[in-house]
Symmetry: C2
Subunit: 217 residues, 2 copies
DNA sequence: GTCTATAATCAGATAGAC
DNA sequence: GTCTATCTGATTATAGAC
């Protein structure tokens, strides 16, 4: 079963490793970043089911087979996009000034998610697809990102409840889920379609509804 | 093309038309109702994209080709399920006692939608699918149902704002969309997965979050 | 690693006998 | 109207040359 052709690369004299490999790796990462950006946009536009791998390849400008050299399945493509958005989330949360109040940080986080959604940069995945869920659960980078974000938000939630700014009768986990749900709130699109509100006004409106409630105060 | 066997029913003396035709029509409607129920359940379980026409046929217990004698496309199947759920919604809204307050009726409507979702009886459709949207928009029964429900809810929203129980700084359309969004709120499923809350407690929690807001009062 | 070409599968829809 | 069998097209994934 051994090939008769020697595929061993010729031993080169002495250029140890860092520069050349780093350059090639950078090219690779740049291309993969382009792929992830295309996937992210398509996931935001059409969702996972409607997005096709052909579309992704066409958007990136490479052949479909080349995509599969970088990512082994459509699910892996989606997972890469989710890892990317979680990294952006972590960066944003880190950028929030420690001087702000816990409730202020929570509002800022919700606002950030909604702005991303309205900007068409928030990937949306079906929560029922089991093979997709399995891929995500098995992706350490993604799970770490979720954990990290949840820890930060969870700390603010507890602090906000302790200083009396957040409703103390709500379990922290319910508050956390309610905030996460702003990333896929259909009210955002509906308001954009039916009203002639500007995006910032839509966000203000939904943010007010979320934090102040429908009831009169 | 005429069959050699006479399948014409023997002319009976004098029973003009209603009973026999009505019987056949009733059989037809009964079968179509079975189809709609299967579609409704599958749409609630897996969503439109993941639901296959083969599954629907298998659930009903008929051949796929027979399905297409009743409904001309997968989109029409989904539309029939939506018409059905809108009829249930109209029936529920009509059943609300006129003695209750407007805000009480709005809360009851939100509660009803969430209960249906947790019971696996609320069909969920992708809001981006354009051909599906076109089918729904072209379905008079569905559109009439949406209009009717929106009119009823809209009247309560206005009344609740006038009597000071509902936040008057929110546009009525935003309130309406916020209520509708409870029918597909992912927080419901998430709470069911992570907490060991009973369904009724989950509904109370989300209802409180929706009407009272995250902020402390 | 990138490409073209193709395999393999699956799902929506239809043909035609009964 | 219901069935079996099939068509058609779309989509995920891969083979193999360069």
């Amino acid at each position: 079963m051994k090939s008769s052709i020697d595929t061993t690369p010729p031993k080169l004299p002495k250029t140890p490793k860092p520069p050349k490999i780093s350059f090639k790796a950078q090219m690779l990462l740049a291309r993969e970043d382009a792929i992830v950006q295309a996937v992210n946009r398509l996931l935001a536009e059409k969702g996972f089911d409607a997005m096709t791998v052909d579309e992704v390849a066409a958007n990136v400008g490479i052949a479909k087979a080349s995509l599969y050299k970088h990512f082994s399945s459509k699910e892996e493509l989606a997972a890469a996009a989710m890892v990317h958005i979680m990294q952006r989330a972590q960066a944003f949360l880190s950028s929030l000034p420690a001087s702000d109040t816990p409730i202020g940080n929570l509002r800022a986080a919700a606002r950030w998610m909604m702005a991303l959604k309205l900007a068409g940069e928030m990937p949306s995945l079906p929560s029922q697809n089991s093979t997709l869920r399995a891929t995500l659960m098995g992706n350490k980078a993604y799970m770490d990102g979720v954990m990290d974000a949840s820890d930060r938000l969870g700390a603010w939630i507890e602090a906000a409840q302790q200083n009396g700014s957040l409703n103390t009768t709500l379990p922290p986990i319910a508050v956390l889920y309610t905030l996460y749900a702003r990333a896929c709130d259909p009210v955002l699109e509906f308001l954009r379609l039916n009203d002639q509100l500007k995006d910032d006004d839509i966000i203000d409106l939904v943010l007010k509804t979320c934090f102040e409630g429908l009831n009169s105060r």
